[in-house]
């Protein structure tokens, strides 16, 4: 039985502990690549425009923040189609509203929810 390759997720998260947790947590079902800041995240995406099935994006990031990354991504036709979920604690109405309007699929308030809910969202989007 040939092994079905796992879908790839790009996690853009600057906090190593948080990143490590999500990588570990999601690794049972998905292949998670990590970008520690927005710039690297964007470069990774551009270099491998077809590689990722989903992007998990923090908002407060060094160099290029989440909102900027999202805006650039949405304007770049090669990567615009990749589903993107905000995984953040940044609770600002206007920012989140803006992100959801320009293309973020969902916004997960990471401290409020248990990991299983994240998995639900991810499964729904990739599934």
């Amino acid at each position: 039985m040939p092994t079905i390759p796992k879908a790839k997720i790009l996690l853009v998260e600057d906090n190593p502990q948080t990143a490590q947790f999500y990588q570990e947590f999601l690794s049972t079902k998905y292949d998670v690549d990590l970008s520690p800041d927005g710039q690297i995240g964007l470069e990774t995406l551009r270099q491998n425009p077809l590689k990722y099935s989903l992007i998990l994006l923090d908002i407060m990031l060094p160099k290029v923040d989440g909102v900027a990354l999202l805006e650039i991504k949405q304007k770049d036709p090669k990567i615009a189609a990749i589903p993107l979920v905000l995984l953040t604690n940044f609770d600002d109405k206007a920012t989140i509203h803006h992100c959801l309007e320009i293309g973020a699929k969902s916004c997960l308030m990471k401290s409020n929810i248990t990991p299983d809910k994240i998995l639900n969202v991810v499964d729904n989007l990739i599934g």
């Binding site: 502990q17 959801l100 969902s106 997960l108 401290s111 299983d116």
Partner: protein
């Protein structure tokens, strides 16, 4: 002799009345006509007297004719007077008026010039027999008709007028009837009964009675006071008597006439002459004086007039400078002065320092300012009376002290230097308050005693006026000071206000910094707490956890997990509360399907309730119920209230319902009812406050009822941010129901934006 006196007094009375009435108001027709009438009456009396006292047949005839003739216009005038008094009623027909005047004048001249009325007089000693001409009956008819007509007119007017005018008419009517009655009695009835014609002499009294009544009626309600009229009459009477006596004494002493040769006619002529002198002399003098004043001194105002003007104006002027100007100008104009000045003591200073308030003509450089505070003012303080330069000369001569003599001499020199002729001290409350310094008269005249009297009066009036003006100024100054103080205080307040604004801005900055601090710290706290929570969750939920963890370990990890969840909740609530305080908590307002929210909550919280053996009842919601709000926040509100109910309910049910709000169906009414311990009435108002907790006793602060006490505060603010209202009804020991309303929205097919935010 008795009759002679009646003639004399009759004549005197009519002439003086004619004068008073005319002078009283010579522009009024009433006064003019009545005076004319009185002149004819006096003429009638005079001619009657002369008629009886003349011996020459020619003069007797002349006086007799004039006597009759004077009665003709006087009767006519009574009639005319009746028409115009007290006010002109309907004007007499113009032609009739002319006819009547012509008739009167014709009859008047016919009587004087022809024998048609009075043919001749037969003289027998003192008695006179008149042979009447053919027109005499016409005279009688003329006289009686006019008098009767006048009586009728007055009688009619008696009913026509009211008030003062009626009283005036009453006087005249009374006078007229009395005199007519008197005249009939003396001239007709008594002679007919007694055949004694002498009594006819008393007939002179009849018109006087009428004249007196009428004069009183005319004058009384005009401005002239009757007492003044009486006083004037008495004045003239006494002065006439005095003149007569003086004349008599002079004639006797000078030997012009002997005491024994004084006959009646002589005495009478002296008396009449005296009366004329006493009446005419003052008028003559006054006119001559004013004429001379105008021509020689060029004065435009008489003393009396200027005094009157000053007296009228001074109390009305409150501005000190205006007042002083008026005083100076009036004095200069009235007396024809070269210069004048007013010096006033300083208002606020106790020291006697005088300030030049106004000068005209004086030159500041010639030393007027030296008067301000020197020996002169000190002298005047001791002797507050008008100081004339000539008098100073006298003081020097009288003074025994050579030192003082020298001083006064200096003063005189000084006054001469500045060309001041006279100084008037103005005294208020026995204190010298001002000085009026006058120059010399233009013609080089000396100040007369009349001038000084006038100046005394002006000084006393000026004192009062200056006092008033000073008080006014004081009040004005006080007002200004008050205004100044207010302005200062306002400026100070504005400054303080600005400082407060600045402080407030600084506080706002600090507040913002605090919020940022809270935001950053909580964010930084949240990240590790979330990691702990997630790992603990992972341990608890990994597939083989049941086999790998002992029950004890599992319980410990579960406790840790709950605690870290509580910690995260605390951080989140603190953050939200901080946002509420800073007015920065925002919500999405978009159509939310209420059923969706309920479905999300139902299973989780049914389980949570079940853990405490409570039943959560959440009936399925009408899919048409939409509210305008924030999905995640609405979820938060409902779950907060459910969690709250679970916390304070030990047994029973928690029921969550949604219905249209009966009071306003544009809103939906949410209710979360429990069967818990309820809330004490006194605690209800505090319930939605910050950090409120139902149970503050230490014993009950178990982990299960823990929390920040911010839950309901945030809940209330979220409801209000979504334009709703929240309240609670509770019976202690029975249960509580939380209600909140939210505005309904038109159903929307698209999923709400906020539903994509997962908290």
């Amino acid at each position: 002799m008795f009759y002679q006196l009646t003639y004399f007094f009759g004549f005197l009375a009519t002439v003086s009345l004619a004068y008073f009435v005319y002078v009283n108001n010579n522009r009024r027709e009433t006064n003019f006509i009545f005076s004319a009438f009185l002149v004819f009456v006096s003429g009638w009396i005079a001619t009657l007297y002369l008629f009886y006292n003349s011996q020459s047949p020619f003069w007797v005839l002349v006086f007799g004719r004039f006597n009759i003739a004077f009665a003709i216009p006087f009767a006519h005038l009574i009639y005319y007077f009746a028409h115009i008094f007290p006010t002109k009623t309907k004007p007499l027909n113009h032609y009739l008026h002319l006819v009547l005047i012509t008739e009167t004048l014709t009859l008047f001249f016919l009587t004087i010039l022809t024998p048609l009325v009075d043919e001749m007089e037969i003289i027998k000693g003192t008695s006179r027999t008149t042979i009447y001409g053919p027109l005499y009956p016409i005279f009688i008819v003329h006289f009686i008709s006019y008098i009767l007509a006048a009586t009728v007119v007055f009688f009619k007017k008696l009913h026509f007028y009211t008030g003062i005018k009626k009283i005036q008419i009453q006087y005249i009517f009374c006078g007229l009837t009395t005199s007519v009655g008197f005249g009939i009695t003396t001239n007709i009835i008594i002679p007919l009964l007694t055949h004694h014609t002498d009594i006819q002499n008393l007939g002179t009294i009849a018109p006087i009675i009428f004249a007196s009544f009428a004069s009183y009626a005319i004058i009384r309600h005009r401005f002239l006071d009757i007492t003044l009229a009486i006083r004037n009459t008495l004045t003239y009477l006494f002065s006439s008597l005095a003149v007569s006596i003086i004349t008599l004494v002079i004639t006797i002493l000078s030997g012009l006439r002997k005491l024994t040769s004084l006959d009646f006619n002589y005495l009478t002529s002296i008396l009449v002459g005296s009366i004329l002198v006493s009446i005419l002399l003052p008028i003559l003098l006054k006119n001559i004086t004013s004429f001379l004043d105008r021509t020689i001194f060029g004065r435009t105002l008489s003393y009396q007039l200027s005094l009157k003007t000053l007296a009228e104006k001074l109390p009305q002027i409150l501005e000190l400078s205006d007042l002083v100007e008026l005083i100076i100008k009036t004095l200069i104009n009235t007396m024809g002065l070269t210069r004048a000045a007013v010096l006033i003591t300083d208002l606020d200073k106790e020291s006697n320092h005088y300030k030049i308030t106004k000068t005209i003509g004086f030159n500041e450089t010639n030393g007027i300012s030296m008067v301000k505070d020197n020996f002169l003012t000190q002298f005047l303080e001791k002797n507050p009376r008008i100081l004339v330069i000539d008098e100073l000369q006298k003081i020097t001569e009288e003074s025994p002290d050579p030192h003082e003599q020298q001083k006064i001499q200096e003063l005189i020199d000084h006054m001469i230097h500045i060309e001041a002729g006279l100084i008037i001290p103005v005294v208020i409350d026995k204190k010298l308050s001002s000085l009026i310094v006058l120059g010399n008269k233009k013609g080089g005249d000396v100040y007369t005693s009349e001038d000084l009297e006038l100046l005394e009066v002006i000084a006393s009036q000026a004192a009062v006026a200056i006092q008033n003006a000073r008080l006014y100024k004081k009040i004005n100054n006080y007002n200004q000071e008050l205004q100044h103080d207010i302005d200062q205080a306002t400026i100070k307040l504005q400054k303080q206000n600005r400082q407060l604004h600045k402080a407030n801005d600084e506080l706002k900055v600090l507040d913002k910094m605090k919020d940022q601090l809270i935001a950053v710290t909580s964010h930084e706290l949240r990240t590790p707490a979330t990691i702990i929570q997630n790992y603990l969750w992972m341990v608890l939920n990994q597939p083989d956890s049941k086999t790998r963890l002992t029950p004890k370990e599992k319980e410990r990890i579960e406790r840790s997990f709950t605690s870290v969840q509580d910690l995260i909740q605390l951080i989140n609530e603190t953050l939200d509360a901080s946002k509420i305080d800073g007015g920065r908590l925002e919500v999405f307002l978009e159509p939310i399907k209420v059923a969706t929210v309920f479905d999300k909550i139902r299973s989780t919280y049914t389980d949570r309730a079940a853990e405490k053996n409570l039943k959560l009842v959440m009936p399925s919601i009408n899919p048409k119920y939409f509210i305008k709000g924030d999905e995640t926040r609405l979820q938060e509100v409902i779950t907060n209230l459910i969690v709250n109910s679970i916390k304070y309910t030990d047994a029973g049910t928690i029921t969550v319902k949604v219905n249209p709000y009966p009071k306003n169906t544009k809103n939906l009414l949410f209710s979360i009812a429990d069967t818990g311990r309820g809330i004490a009435k006194e605690n209800i108002p505090k319930l939605f406050g910050k950090f409120y907790r139902e149970d503050t006793s230490l014993s009950s602060s178990t982990p299960k009822t823990g929390g920040t006490g911010l839950g309901l505060y945030i809940t209330k603010n979220l409801v209000e941010l979504m334009q709703g209202k929240i309240w609670v009804e509770s019976i202690h020991g029975v249960g509580s129901t939380f209600f909140f309303t939210l505005p309904q929205a038109t159903p929307s097919q698209t999923a709400s934006l906020s539903s994509r935010i997962i908290r």
